[in-house]
Each structure stands twice: as C-alpha cells, then as structure tokens.
Symmetry: C2
Subunit: 221 residues, 2 copies
DNA sequence: CTCGGTTTGTTCTCACGTTCACAAACTCCT
DNA sequence: AGGAGTTTGTGAACGTGAGAACAAACCGAG
C-alpha cells in the first residue's frame, strides 16, 4: 500500500514554485485584510508581482482550488497554501549570534505571524548573557544541545560573523537540526539531508551595482 | 563607430551568472587573505559552493582570465570580477527606515568593504532624528531629495514597514534613484528602468519549513 | 434549458540554465 | 625538443522554467 493521507499532496512541486508560494500567501493575507473575499488569478498575480499564467500554473501544482468563471476564494486558497508550505503548524527556531542582525531577527514580527517561534537566542560572548531580547533571554551557545532536545527544534538561524558560521553549523547538525538559514557571509558545508539557505545582504547590493553600472555605461557610449 | 573602451566587457552576462559573481568575489577574497596566490577552478568552486563546470562557464562570460594547466591568479581574477560587478568604484547609498533592521544594515561592515558608502539614514519618525547610528546621524525623510542631489545617490535601501514601502519607493524614483533594495515585506511597483531587488527574511524560513515538512512526511509514511 | 461571457487548468513551445565531455593550451620533467 | 600530466574554455546534450494560447468548466440572464 502506497496510500497517503486523505488530502493527497502533489508529489513534486518545482523549486521555483515553492519559492513563490510564500509571496502568494502574503498577497492573499493582504487581500483578506482588505476585506476581499474572492479574487481572480489576474488580481492575485498583480498583488504578488508575477505573471498571471505563471500564478495559475504554480497553483495547479497544489491542486484545483479555484472555480472557473469566478476565481479563487481568498481565505480558502490562503489556507491551502499555508498548509502546503507548512506554516499552519508551529516551528520552533533557534537564533545563534545576537549582534545587530540577530537583534533585528529576534524582533522581526514576520516570523511569529507565520508560525515561527523563537525559542532561544544563543551567543558565545558571555557579556551578552544577561540581555533580554524580544522577551527571550540570551543564553550560552553551549546550551544548544539541551534546547534542541527539549523544544524539538528543527530549524536554526545563523547570524554570527563569517568565521564562526561553520562551527555553529556543525554543532547544529550534530544536535539534529536539519534546516539552516545562514546570514553569515560564508559558505557552509553540511551533510546530505540538511537544507541550507543563504541570505547575503551585500550580494543583493552588488547585483544592483552591476546593473547600475551597465545603465551608466549605456549613457556614456 | 560602435567602439567601446579598451577593456571590452562582454555584452550580455546571464542573470544567473551575475548573481553568483559576488559569491566568487568573496571566495577569492578569503583565499587571498589566507595567502593563496593561485587556485584551480575546482578549488574556487569548492570555496564558493558550486560546480566547477558552472564556475568556469560563468567566468568565461567575463573573458579568459585563467591559464590552462595552471589555474587562476587569485588577486588578478578578484580584480576582474570586482571591476565587472562595479564594486571597484564608490556607491553612495541611502537607507530609509531605521528600525531594528535599518540599524543592522547601517552597521553591516560588508557594505563598506565592497564600495558601498552609507551617506544618509532617513526616518519619518521625528523621535529618531537625534540618534546617531554607525557614525551617521538619522535625518528626516523629507531630506531625501537634497541628499540624493548632493551625493549623487543611485541606490536606495528600504527597511520600513510594509505600508510605507510603496510611498518611499515612489519618492526615491522621483528623486532619480534607479536601483532599490527592498527589505519591506511588500511588493512595490516602479517604472521601467528602475531595478528592484527584494530580500524577505520570512520567505526564506518558509521555504525551509516546506522542505522540513516534506522530510517529516516521508518518515511517517 | 440554452447561450454568451468569464476565468481556470493545462498543453505546447521557446528560452534559459546546468552539466558533461573534450579539444586547446600550458607546465614540467627527461 | 618532446611527451606526459593538468587545467581551462567551450560546444553540445539535457533538464527546468516561463509565457502564450486554448479547451473545459462555471455563472447568470433570458
């Protein structure tokens, strides 16, 4: 028997689509807050900043949640996407490295509102251990094992300097963490089965600089 | 005459390649700091976390800067990539919205070290106008026009709440800013010719959650 | 019930990005 | 000088993603 749950989820959703689902989710939340109960693919696509054909194709991977001739029920579709992504459940998260960025992340409201709960803030520097950030007190990095075990944490966030990132990642993996969001400006390597995503603030600026330079060159030519 | 400068730059570099060039640049900087003077595509690819064939193809768009049988001169290649991206020059940048994230961005050392100079921090809230962050004092948002004019700013960073983002973007565009890095969790629309890149902290976490949920489903099946 | 108008879901085609595989080119050793 | 060993740069195959276009399905009016 290869039976699945009653709500059979599609087997393989393309990565590009997965990356856009959170955008649709946010657009739907905005529409819902504005009191919109129904929307067409055209409207939703505009709100999400994508092509309507692409939107429909993306949604088709999840199932058939629209009604032809009518459109989509905003709240229903929102729930379906949230369930598909997994943000209907609670995700305990640890943040390691409570510098400027760690502070910002700990205070970021967008996490909590999407099911992410910051259960611990860790830092290797003892001087930070008396601080309380966003209602959570900063604890020694060595508490990682215990926290992960007690709270069932699967997702870790690295906001340390570049040099510490690989060590932190190793310790996280050793504890059983299987998803890492890395803000440190360094490439970290992890064993297969562990997902790593990277956010590098300066890379995005450099990409803008490249295009900006191109525009300037075009003018002077 | 369609002549160009003596160092003729390749006409069109694929977007995917452009996005990776900053990664290579950082890897080369790390190698250089470690005292490495030469590296093969295999080594550099490992340091950057990509496939070596992809690395070589990416570099081939810039020109032929390696030596067959030997590899790449670290400092030479580093300079060539930096020049191609445009980070050999100075990029004045304005940051609007000095909340938690704005603080972190203003203090982020990765900007300055790559030619980005934060010339102004702006916030609409008068209570923040006496603050000094990272050596730059916070000024009223209405000073935007003057600052952009005086400093020749082409790149703006939005770190405001979602609701303010579109207004800020409109004002930036009106001032002549042509590249925007948007950290606010909202889709902003700008006229053609203006580049916008988005960084959304919670989207990355949601993508991780999706894969994490998948792993868990696989186990229980 | 039927018909016109609307919107989704899907198929098809094209463009882009990735990877393989190998010829060209370089160094070093004999 | 010549040949063995390395490594780059690139052509070609492959896979993934984007967009256009259209049939299927739904609503509402008459």
């Amino acid at each position: 028997m290869t039976a699945r749950t009653s709500t059979e989820s599609a087997r393989d959703i393309p990565e590009a689509t997965v990356a856009r689902l959170p955008v649709y989710l946010r657009a739907l939340t905005t529409l819902s807050e504005q009191g919109t109960s129904t929307c067409s693919s055209e409207e939703l696509a505009a709100a999400a900043g994508v092509n309507s054909a692409k939107l429909r194709k993306d949604l088709s991977y999840l199932g058939s949640y629209g009604t032809r001739g009518v459109g989509y029920d905003v709240d229903y579709l929102r729930y379906q996407i949230a369930r598909e992504i997994g943000v209907t459940q609670d995700w305990p998260v640890v943040i390691v490295g409570i510098g400027n960025l760690g502070h910002a992340l700990a205070n970021y409201s967008g996490f909590r509102s999407r099911g992410f709960r910051v259960v611990a803030l860790l830092d290797a520097d003892p001087e930070r251990h008396d601080e309380v950030v966003a209602g959570v007190d900063v604890r020694p990095f060595d508490d990682l094992e215990q926290i992960v075990r007690d709270s069932g944490v699967a997702i870790g966030v690295i906001a340390t300097p570049a040099l510490a990132a690989q060590d932190v990642a190793d310790r996280m993996v050793a504890c059983g963490i299987t998803s890492i969001l890395n803000f440190a400006p360094s490439v970290i390597s992890v064993p297969a089965g562990v997902d790593v995503r990277k956010v590098d603030l300066s890379i995005e600026l450099q990409i803008l600089a490249y295009h900006e330079q191109r525009k300037a060159q075009g003018e002077s030519a």
